[in-house]
């Protein structure tokens, strides 16, 4: 009661005490956040910051000292041809695996979703590569793609001289010389060494990447499809939509927008991070054609103990991932949330 009277008589004082109370509340709320914030800083931000600092040095593990290099590490990444190859390999991998695995994953999800029976069976089959450890599967691929005893080339070779060759040499298309086709020349000579030839290695790695990512993307899309209200399809039918393609364009694809943004981001980041197939199958070769960023980081920073240089690649890598994530955020906010 008396407090109230004073505060009415001295409004400024009341304001001041209010401010003090507010400041105290704020301080306390910061204190509550402190454990989370400090953990976040220690385990998430500090390592990145250290990597950022090290990327300007020539530090190696075990050394007590290091020299500042300025931007020399970065100049090497973008200037030297072997690191340009690294950027190319990563870019190729991402640009091939992301669209292909998303397109195939979406296609598989749509097909499975339209099945009345056996849907679960197909789901399990497509998901197998996701569940299996990629490193273990890489060994299987290594066998399968072996140039002479591998099942891939054996199968291809068994088609030589048969109708299969006749068909796949495309000689039956008017104006195509079958004898010059890839299949016929390979039959005459030999089938490629899929992982050992510069011409094929990155594409083979991409193929395995797609093989692995399709199942994962399919599951994400299947989840997305269950969220599309059935009434929208009914409304579309009433509105005059007849073909499956129109239905896909008017309802399914827009409703899958949030899923697609998520799938693209996840697949792109995972593709940037590809490492195990490269390590197990090609070790970055031949002629650095599969020298992807993750493998380069591993080789430089761990194998050769060039921590400073490895950090610089890591920072570039994080930069790419950050760009993808930010553009995802932008897209999500701008386009796909209704």
């Amino acid at each position: 009661m008396s407090e109230q009277t004073t505060s009415v008589e001295n409004p400024p004082k009341r304001g001041a005490s209010l401010k003090a109370a507010e400041a105290r509340t704020r301080l306390i709320s910061y204190l509550f956040c402190l454990p989370a914030i400090s953990l976040m800083i220690i385990i998430l931000l500090v390592p990145i910051f250290i990597a950022g600092v090290l990327s300007f040095t020539d530090y190696s593990l075990g050394n007590t000292d290091f020299n500042w290099q300025g931007t020399k590490n970065y100049e090497r990444i973008f200037g030297r041809s072997s690191y340009q190859k690294m950027l190319w390999a990563s870019a190729t991998y991402v640009l091939v695996v992301v669209p292909a695995s998303i397109g195939l994953g979406l296609g598989a999800a749509l097909l499975i979703n339209s099945l009345r029976r056996f849907g679960d069976f197909y789901k399990a089959i497509y998901f197998l590569p996701v569940m299996a450890a990629l490193l273990a599967m890489a060994i299987v691929w290594d066998f399968a793609l072996h140039p002479t005893i591998g099942i891939v080339n054996k199968t291809l070779a068994s088609g030589c001289g048969t109708l299969v060759e006749g068909f796949f040499s495309w000689g039956w298309i008017p104006g195509v010389n079958g004898a010059e086709s890839w299949y016929s020349t390979s039959c005459a000579d030999e089938f490629p060494h899929w992982l050992g030839e510069k011409k094929y290695a990155i594409w083979t790695i991409c193929f395995i990447g797609i093989w692995q990512a399709v199942g994962f993307n399919m599951v994400l899309y299947l989840a997305g499809l269950t969220g599309v209200p059935r009434e929208l399809y009914h409304a579309a039918a009433i509105d005059g939509v007849r073909s499956g393609w129109e239905r896909f364009r008017l309802v399914t694809w827009p409703m899958l927008g949030p899923t697609t943004v998520f799938v693209v981001t996840i697949t792109a980041i995972r593709s940037f991070q590809v490492f195990d197939t490269v390590e197990a199958l090609t070790e970055g070769g031949p002629a650095k054609s599969t020298y992807v960023m993750m493998y380069a980081i591993f080789e430089k920073a761990i194998r050769e103990n060039l921590v400073g240089f490895g950090s610089a690649i890591t920072i570039v890598f994080l930069g790419f991932v950050l760009i993808i994530t930010l553009s995802q955020r932008y897209l999500v906010e701008r386009r796909v949330h209704y």
Binding site: L232, H234, A235, A237, D239, G240, E246, L250, P254
Partner: protein, 379 residues
């Protein structure tokens, strides 16, 4: 504009029979309301009419033409869904123009980027815009054209859904509980608006609801459905005054009709409890029957009056009228609806007697079928 004929429609989902032979003739320009409790198969019937669901037996014809093998998009009818089913990624203007895009533009003209370079594209788009503008003006949603459905209120979404249905002048409108997502006040308002829209368009409306008040206020004819059967199709006043089945009588009207057990003697005279209903004769004789009395045909009277003794257990003051809930001494509970002035005389806890107006008593057999009755005015 077209008549819709529904013949012996049967539908089952697995072993569950949802519709058992529903038939009704809907006239051109009629506003018919399908009403019934939740789960009785109203939406299923509507979806069969729309072509979104295939019936197991029976036929649907629109404008005297069988449409059973026509895809929904060819039946030329429009539907407003309970959830409105607006395309969330399209603006209001685009939502309303979808049916026109699908019908007027060719496949090539609809292509994403190239479409606009196809010959005739511009003229058609101009025509579509004119029609959309006309509809949005009628519905008063012109200011919302560039918003997405997520940025609209429930009532505005409902209007957009109606606009999407209206824009191509369909032969019939199907509406599946379009007002059930609105608050009570807006529901009453939209009720009038839809009825007015029907008058203006003079198109056949088939309207589904589980709210009997909506059915009674909007319909030319009410079709009462229950457990997959169409019990009665008649004007609202006939459905109320002359229900052919006790289930119809119980479903229509609020508060609910009072049902009392009664006996008929050999002469057809009816006794409820120990009171004879004077002047009312039943067509069946010497049986147990049920008497249905609307709350307004039950009046409270002084305990000493000629009537069924009871105790008032609850009363509700509705302003202009009052509802009295009473426990009969012979067992059972009834509701009486009287003028609010009765509150001066009667209150909760009081003993009173219930007087039945024989003129307005409805007789039903043990199975719920309506029985004929005869009134003999005492001279």
């Amino acid at each position: 504009m077209a008549s819709v004929t529904i013949r012996d429609i049967e539908k089952s989902f697995g072993s569950v029979n949802v519709l058992n032979g529903v038939s009704v003739d809907i006239e051109d320009g009629e506003f018919i309301v399908l009403v019934g409790p939740s789960g009785c198969g109203k939406s299923t019937l509507l979806r069969i009419i729309a072509g979104l669901e295939q019936q197991n037996a029976g036929n649907i014809s629109i404008a005297d033409e069988l449409v059973d093998n026509l895809h929904a998009s060819h039946r030329d009818i429009a539907m407003v869904f309970q959830s409105y089913a607006l395309y969330p990624h399209l603006t209001v203007a685009n939502n309303i123009s979808v049916p026109l895009h699908m019908r007027r533009l060719s496949f090539l003209q609809r292509l994403p980027l190239l479409g606009r370079f196809m010959p005739g594209h511009k003229e058609i788009m101009d025509g579509i815009k004119r029609d959309v503008d006309e509809v949005t003006e009628t519905l008063g949603i012109g200011a919302l054209m560039d918003r997405k459905p997520g940025q609209l209120s429930g009532g505005q979404r409902q209007r957009v859904a109606v606009g999407r249905a209206m824009v191509r002048h369909p032969r019939a409108f199907l509406m599946d509980e379009p007002l059930s997502n609105l608050d009570a006040e807006l529901r009453v308002h939209m009720r009038a608006e839809i009825a007015e829209l029907h008058r203006r368009l003079a198109t056949t409306f088939i309207y589904v609801t589980h709210d009997q008040a909506e059915a009674m206020t909007m319909a030319d004819r009410v079709a009462v459905m229950m457990d997959g059967d169409l019990l009665q199709v008649d004007t609202p006043s006939n459905v109320y005054k002359n229900p052919t089945d006790i289930r119809v009588a119980e479903f229509i009207g609020s508060p609910k009709i009072n049902i009392l057990a009664a006996q008929v003697d050999g002469a057809g005279k009816i006794t409820v409890g120990d009171r004879m209903l004077s002047g009312l004769y039943s067509s069946v004789k010497g049986e147990d029957i049920q008497v249905g009395v609307r709350p307004e045909a039950l009046t409270l009277a002084d305990i000493k009056a000629e009537g069924l003794p009871c105790r008032i257990v609850h009363h509700e003051n509705m302003g202009s009228e009052a509802y009295f809930h009473a426990e009969l001494n012979i067992g059972g509970r009834v509701i009486s609806r009287m003028d609010a002035s009765a509150l001066d005389t009667f209150a909760t806890g009081q003993e009173a007697s219930i007087v039945i107006d024989p003129q307005n008593a409805l007789l039903f057999g043990k199975e719920g079928q309506r029985l004929a009755s005869k009134i003999e005015v005492a001279a």
